[in-house]
Symmetry: C2
């Protein structure tokens, strides 16, 4: 049964894309117990700003077909295979008109779910990289998911958005997707030398652990942006980086989701 995991947080710049790419990579490097082949992983870029598509080495403007065509025109999902062992459905700026076009579309809420159905049994994990908004794209991602993973920056601003984030998940669980579970919270860009980061991390652990696992924080490090510039997961760019172990552990935890 494939797990479809939305990396969701309406706040901007909190590492959704970075974690989609890096956790996707680590998942694709794990082989399930008693199996020879590794987990098969598909990443889907749902952001009109197409950052994941760029980070994975593609040029959004040069693409003939993107997730837009699948969601709006019910075309086949355009899958690019084996980028660092991962498959990818790219995005481009075309997706920015999708928010408006979906307003009046039939079966709007289920469009992404339907687009995934033909291929979802080809994958063990499908990760959905959400845009920084509470708009329709994030919403249909949550409707299509089995789980939601929440990167949350260890800064004061993150708490301002937490309530809205959780009420959005609750809203989706109340009707269009009763089975949606929170896989966990990932404290991101954690700067241990900074008291605000430390206090925010403690608050995250105290207040959110009751809802879902709070994973180990991903440290703030310039290596992430450097790896992105080289179009590589951190584990390939700088294998000995301390964050690599943490990413691996989170990936292993994701393989144990029910």
């Amino acid at each position: 049964m494939s797990k479809i995991i939305a990396l969701f947080n309406q706040a901007g710049g909190v590492a959704k894309t970075t974690l989609t790419m890096n956790l996707g990579y680590h998942l694709s490097q794990i082989s399930p117990p008693r199996k020879k082949q590794n987990y098969r992983v598909l990443l889907i870029d749902l952001d009109p700003q197409a950052t994941l598509t760029n980070f994975m080495g593609l040029e959004p403007e040069q693409l003939e077909s993107t997730i837009y065509d699948a969601v709006i025109d019910q075309k086949k999902l355009p899958i690019h295979s084996d980028i660092h062992g991962l498959d990818l459905v790219p995005a481009s700026v075309d997706l920015s008109s999708a928010e408006l076009e979906l307003v009046v579309a039939d079966m709007r809420d289920l469009r992404l779910k339907y687009a995934l159905e033909p291929i979802q049994n080809n994958y063990d994990f499908i990760l959905l990289d959400c845009p920084p908004s509470l708009g329709i794209l994030s919403y249909i991602a949550l409707v299509a998911s089995t789980h939601v993973l929440v990167p949350i920056q260890t800064q004061y601003k993150s708490f301002l958005g937490a309530e809205l984030l959780l009420s959005t998940v609750t809203r989706v669980r109340s009707l269009p997707n009763r089975h949606l579970q929170i896989a966990g919270f990932i404290p991101s860009m954690y700067d241990a030398r900074n008291t605000q980061d430390e206090r925010t991390l403690n608050a995250i652990q105290e207040q959110l652990a009751i809802l879902a696992p709070v994973y180990k924080p991903i440290p703030r490090s310039t290596a992430f942006a450097d790896a992105a510039e080289d179009k590589q997961p951190l584990a390939i760019f700088q294998p000995k980086h301390p964050a690599v172990k943490i990413l691996k552990q989170i990936a292993i935890a994701l393989t144990k989701l029910s």
Copy 2:
């Protein structure tokens, strides 16, 4: 003639809100030549995530009236006066339905411009804090503005969005707002110890200075998030912080805009 300046960049988490609040503060502390009174400054929160509203000490959920009511229902702008010497029109999550409601609204593109007209002569500067998207809210902010100020993070990801950002400004200048000028680019969250930041800053200076001034970079510093948590501009929270001088210089440059 009041200057209406949109802090615009579709990328998330690049310091739009932080700079709206801090530059607004410094502008309000300057008195024009040969005048006794300081410049009068109004901040407008255009983000449904209402970060500026929060940073300025208000609780979005408790507000009776926000920018939403002015733009959608043509109500009077709800102005909160004298927060650190600044006036503020707050936002709340109500604004998230505005993007959809504006799709079919009459005179959609001019709605914010019209909302500002009754009060714009009461202010020397009106700063518009845009959300992290290329949606209608950012668009009507650009249509209503005399100038656009672009915070741009000195990281690789920022270059991916630069072209789209500039083409959006060009599009607005071609028809709905022929007078829109780029006031400048503000390199933000600059970490001088990091080579990627340094290279990105150089690239920003080389490629964008031909279009508009590239201001001095705002250094990355935990003091900004700490000041925000205390609901204060940096200059009040930590007056001796090195970034305060830089913010002041940018504010002075803004007073010289034609």
